[in-house]
């Protein structure tokens, strides 16, 4: 599958460091039609908050994925890092 024409976004996700939170994010991202181009996850052991930075691409608007990730119980917040990637179209 060619990804050349897909919109690319970088998401910054803050989450409680709970069981399988990373798997939940990955499952939702795949199911909602987004490819994962890269990711990084770190946990602040002081406050048990995980910060996940994820680059995704899709034909679909990023708002669709943000809303679905936001619904996950352990998520504290999701935002698009507009400066990180060149999007064909920014819809968040």
């Amino acid at each position: 599958m060619s990804t050349a024409n897909l919109n690319k976004y970088q998401l910054i996700i803050m989450a409680d460091d709970k069981q399988v939170v990373l798997e939940r994010i990955l499952q939702v991202t795949r199911y909602r039609g987004f490819l994962i181009n890269g990711m990084n996850a770190e946990v602040n052991t002081g406050n048990n908050v995980a910060t996940i930075t994820m680059t995704v691409s899709s034909e679909r608007p990023i708002s669709l994925l943000i809303d679905q990730i936001n619904k996950l119980i352990d998520i504290k917040g999701v935002r698009v890092d507009n400066s990180a990637v060149n999007n064909k179209q920014q819809t968040a």
Binding site: V20, E23, Q27, L64, D67, K71, I73
Partner: protein, 554 residues
């Protein structure tokens, strides 16, 4: 924390269930959940032994939907847990609050491919609203409280709690003094009320599009008041049936693939859709690009993710429907629109003057609907009989019509009826099923026998997988592939084997007396209704087609 009597994990489970008002649970024991079943022995919670874990899950769903409470089911590890999955997926698709408890192999054995070990925690991710695996007894109470809170918070849904055997056996001496609540993730309403009022004021041909969220938001009264005060014609999704009083002169019936002609034409010609607790499901919209092409949209929902998911909203109002909808109530000057649709209702009304002596399934279901007592709860399976029930039966509350909407799960109807009957022992419960669907969870006839659950079963029997056969006839050149069920068992004899009174009818002249006998019978009853295998469900909007291009009795 406060000191209490010593409890095992299993004992703690039942104490917490009772604190959440749980009186009944549905389940099936097995090796990795034996400590919980041992604790059940001393508990006041009543357990119903289903004959398959899928039956337990659907009984919990039916219980939840009929009673407006959380349904609870139990299963052991491995195959017991995986057998719950279809029920949990069904509950997720239809936003039903269910808490599923699964036993797991001991923590020391986890990850070793132990006997009856499966990663149900991993499997649960796609079919639950949330899930937990409790590996420390000290976390169990908090997790159980959170499971109930999550199941009921915002948009309802199923939650799974996986408990390893050693945690079930471990002792706990302290209970939580104070519960820590989840952060409130339901967002405040967007400030679109003034825009919505403006859209409503200028609408000439508005339609109120009512979904299953209305019942779950406990907003039936508010939606009915809104429909009355505005005089707005209304349509319902499959799950919304019962939210609008079916006697309302501006109510047009179900929309979508098997919706009424008037409902679909009205929506297609509308200039404003006021959408309450609905999500533009593909079975509702037909070809999405051509759905209500000239309508602006006011969308009320509790779930942010449903706004703009399939159809852009001109005004989105998030949050509690019960509080938000009255903000839009006003009198509208739409008498010409009302009269046009009322005339269409007369022109396109259902007809029951079917030729010949054979039984016409829509007429049977209309008869059942006319004769059943007030507040009867009807469940269905999935297929032609489901659509005929939705079209030809009348419901005055969504909790009186339980059907698998989003997932479309054959096998739902019988166990859901058992759950509904247990939650509402004084109401009549009728399971409308088909000869294909009933075989999916036929083992639950044993649950009916065991507890003498007085469910009435109306079995619409065409010896076919009727809906698939209909599509094969219409869209696959009549190549009937694997849809003949002429070798079904003798359903009357089968029922009798479970001490369930039963009879078969095949002529129109038998219908009324047979339905009356079924409804008058004290215990469970199965009425097998033989119908012509070639009957189709009409109207039908073909796949990926606009809703005004429906097929009618071809």
């Amino acid at each position: 924390m406060s000191e209490n009597k010593v409890l095992t994990g299993g004992g703690l489970l039942f104490e917490v269930l009772q604190e959440h008002g749980v009186q009944h649970v549905f389940g099936y024991p097995g090796g990795a959940i034996m400590p919980i079943y041992d604790a059940l022995y001393d508990s006041d919670v009543q357990h119903f032994l289903c004959r398959h874990e899928q039956g337990a899950a659907f009984s919990a769903v039916g219980y939840a939907r009929a009673a407006g409470k959380v349904g609870v089911c139990l299963a052991t590890s491995g195959p017991g847990a995986t057998n719950l999955i279809t029920g949990l997926a069904d509950a997720l698709a239809d936003s039903i609050p269910v808490v599923a408890i699964t036993g797991q192999v001991p923590t020391a054995a986890m990850g070793s491919d132990a006997f009856q070990e499966i990663d149900i925690f991993g499997l649960s991710l796609a079919c639950t609203k949330h899930s937990f695996q409790v590996t420390d007894i000290n976390d169990l109470e908090k997790v159980l409280h959170q499971a109930f809170e999550i199941a009921l918070e915002g948009r309802h849904g199923p939650v799974l709690v996986d408990i390893p055997k050693d945690v079930q056996l471990a002792e706990v001496t302290e209970r939580l003094d104070k519960l820590s609540h989840l952060k409130n993730k339901v967002k405040l309403p967007l400030a679109d009320i003034s825009k919505a009022l403006d859209l409503l004021t200028h609408a000439k041909q508005p339609i109120l599009y009512v979904g299953g969220g209305v019942g779950m938001a406990n907003a039936i009264e508010e939606v009915r008041n809104f429909a009355e005060q505005t005089g707005m014609p209304s349509v319902s999704t499959l799950k919304g049936l019962g939210a609008i009083n079916p006697d309302n002169e501006n109510y047009l019936g179900m929309l979508g693939m098997h919706g009424t002609k008037t409902a679909n034409l009205a929506v297609q010609n509308s200039d404003l859709l006021v959408v309450v607790g609905a999500r533009f499901d593909d079975r509702v919209t037909g070809k999405l690009d051509e759905f209500a092409p000239n309508a602006r949209v006011i969308h009320f929902d509790i779930d942010t993710a449903e706004i703009n998911k399939r159809r852009a909203a001109d005004a989105a109002i998030l949050g509690d429907l019960k509080g938000n909808l009255p903000l839009l109530s006003m009198e509208l000057s739409i008498s010409a629109w009302q009269e046009e649709l009322q005339q269409m209702q007369k022109d396109f009304g259902w007809r029951y003057d079917h030729p010949g002596e054979n039984i016409f399934a829509p007429a049977v279901l209309k008869t059942v609907s006319d004769l059943m007592p007030d507040n009867t709860c009807v469940t269905t399976d999935v297929g032609q009989h489901q659509m005929w029930a939705a079209q030809h039966m009348s419901f005055d509350d969504p909790s009186n019509f339980l059907t698998s909407g989003g997932m479309g799960t054959m096998g739902f109807g019988l166990p859901a009826a058992i759950g509904a009957q247990i939650s509402r022992p004084h109401d009549t419960v009728i399971a409308v099923s088909g000869d294909g669907s009933i075989m999916m969870n036929v083992q639950e006839l044993a649950t009916i026998k065991r507890y003498q659950v007085p469910v009435k079963i109306v079995l619409i029997d065409n010896a076919k997988l009727g809906m698939v056969r209909q599509w094969q006839d219409l869209f696959f050149d009549g190549r009937l592939s694997e849809t003949d069920l002429a070798d079904n068992p003798d359903f009357v004899m089968l029922s009798q084997a479970f001490d369930i009174k039963s009879q078969t009818i095949s002529k129109k002249s038998q219908v009324k007396a047979a339905v009356e006998e079924m409804l008058d019978h004290d215990g469970p009853y199965l009425l097998r209704v033989q119908i012509d295998a070639k009957e189709n469900v009409w109207p039908l909007v073909p796949p990926n087609t606009a809703n005004d291009k429906m097929m009618e009795n071809v």
